[in-house]
């Protein structure tokens, strides 16, 4: 499936409604990036509703990379004895589809 990306701030109630999530997939990514199906009128209407800003895949990837890099830096700054245990792993890079 082909995807499109946008940025939008999740304001909470009403941001994603049942009628929308049951109609097309909406996936949240770091940096308030949202992935929606391409060529989908309802998905485009949702982006309009949430005042989203469409991003190219490379633009969205850069936003996600920056957020993941922050999380990785926070992890790297931890004392060694707190790293790499069962609940605390270095955040993975995310590659957009």
């Amino acid at each position: 499936m082909a995807y499109k990306y946008c940025t939008a701030e999740n304001w909470g109630k009403g941001f994603i409604e049942i009628g929308e999530s049951s109609n097309f997939d909406i996936s949240g990514l770091p940096g308030n990036v949202w992935r929606i199906p391409a060529n989908n009128k309802d998905a485009n209407l949702w982006v309009f509703k949430v005042a989203g800003s469409f991003k190219t895949k490379s633009e969205a990837q850069a936003i996600v990379d920056a957020e993941v890099a922050k999380a990785q830096a926070a992890y790297d700054a931890l004392p060694e004895d707190q790293k790499n245990n069962s609940i605390n792993r270095r955040p993975e890079n995310i590659v957009l589809e």
């Binding site: 909470g12 049942i18 999530s21 949240g28 999380a71 605390n88 792993r89 955040p91």
Partner: protein, 336 residues
């Protein structure tokens, strides 16, 4: 040319506004928006709820989708909080603070009769025996757990609760197979599970409980166990072995969602419903996360907070509401 009337024996309704309670299959023309609409059945989907005031993970969550409770939790990293918030189906407002700041405990009960079981005041896990009871305004001490336990599951009510599994820091951080029953005053030993497990989820009641998930090993993480008030027996396996996942519902009508597939996979947003025998995929959440809890029923569930990262420094303020079963939503019919 075929007509709608000729095919279905009914005319398309001509309405100034959408019907308040449309039936699945109902078709109408909205004369205000000039749109042809149809109501369709969905089998389960998530919607965003009001955001938590603060990003959290491993917070206690109890109650229902329209009367929820969030208490304590980790703020990302070591600090834990004692803050409580109450949900009305739209937004969160402050409630009374927990006596002991902590995260990663078990939850039971409702917004006005909640129960916070054990948990962890700091990272790395030390664990507490404290149990607290909420009355809708303030928390008071309940009967202590026999042993400090973290990353356990809870279910039931404030006065008839069950604590399931978890990590016992004083036993070298190992998982336990113990379950413990609460009568509103004190804890007594319940039946031991077949498998020791921690970072598991629980649903149901003290005498009809369900648990699944585990941090340690795939063979256990996919295994489901059901409790009858005396002993645990095997249920239908989860499709994916996970830890730190959310749960809601009952033993024969449960919902499992999100979490971290093991070993060490990225966190996920998928969800499955259980009928007492087997699991079926349903709509995925918008935001993948782990270290979260759920409340409510299989068809009307709530989750708030969680950790979207594989590190301990992720947290979210996102609330999501699940609506399952036959639910009618409106679609606008458009031409090509």
């Amino acid at each position: 040319m075929a007509t709608y009337y000729g095919t279905y024996g009914q005319k398309v309704q001509y309405l100034a506004s959408d019907p308040a309670s449309p039936q699945a299959g109902q078709v109408w023309f909205n004369s205000t928006s000039n749109l042809l609409k149809v109501a369709v059945d969905i089998q389960g989907a998530w919607a965003s709820g009001g955001n938590l005031p603060t990003s959290l993970f491993n917070n206690f969550v109890a109650g229902t989708q329209t009367a929820g409770l969030s208490a304590g939790g980790a703020l990302g990293g070591s600090p834990t909080t004692n803050v409580t918030n109450e949900y009305d189906g739209t937004s969160w407002t402050a409630g009374g603070n927990l006596g002991t700041s902590r995260s990663g405990g078990g939850s039971a009960g409702t917004q006005t009769a909640g129960l916070a079981i054990g948990g962890n005041p700091t990272e790395p896990a030390l664990g507490v025996v404290n149990v607290e009871e909420y009355n809708g305004t303030s928390w008071t001490a309940g009967g202590n757990l026999p042993t400090a336990t973290v990353n356990l599951a809870g279910c039931g009510t404030q006065t008839i609760a069950l604590a399931i599994g978890g990590t016992v820091p004083t036993a070298g951080g190992t998982a336990t197979n113990a379950s413990r029953e609460y009568d509103g005053t004190s804890w007594t030993a319940g039946g031991n599970m077949t498998n020791s497990r921690n970072n598991n989820a629980g649903a149901g009641t003290q005498t009809t409980a369900l648990t699944f998930g585990d941090a340690a090993a795939v063979p256990v993480a996919i295994l489901v166990e059901e409790y009858d008030g005396t002993s645990w027996t095997a249920g239908g396996n989860l499709p994916i072995g996970k830890r730190q996942l959310g749960a809601a519902g009952a033993q024969t009508a449960a919902l499992a969602f999100a979490g971290q597939p093991i070993p060490e996979a990225p966190v996920v947003a998928d969800a499955f419903i259980y009928d007492g025998t087997s699991w079926t995929a349903t709509g995925s959440m918008a935001n993948a996360r782990r270290q979260l809890q759920g409340c409510g029923t299989q068809t009307s569930a709530l989750t708030a907070g969680g950790n979207p990262s594989s590190s301990s420094y992720g947290s979210t303020d996102s609330t999501e509401e699940f609506t399952g079963g036959p639910t009618v939503v409106t679609r606008t019919v458009t031409g090509t």
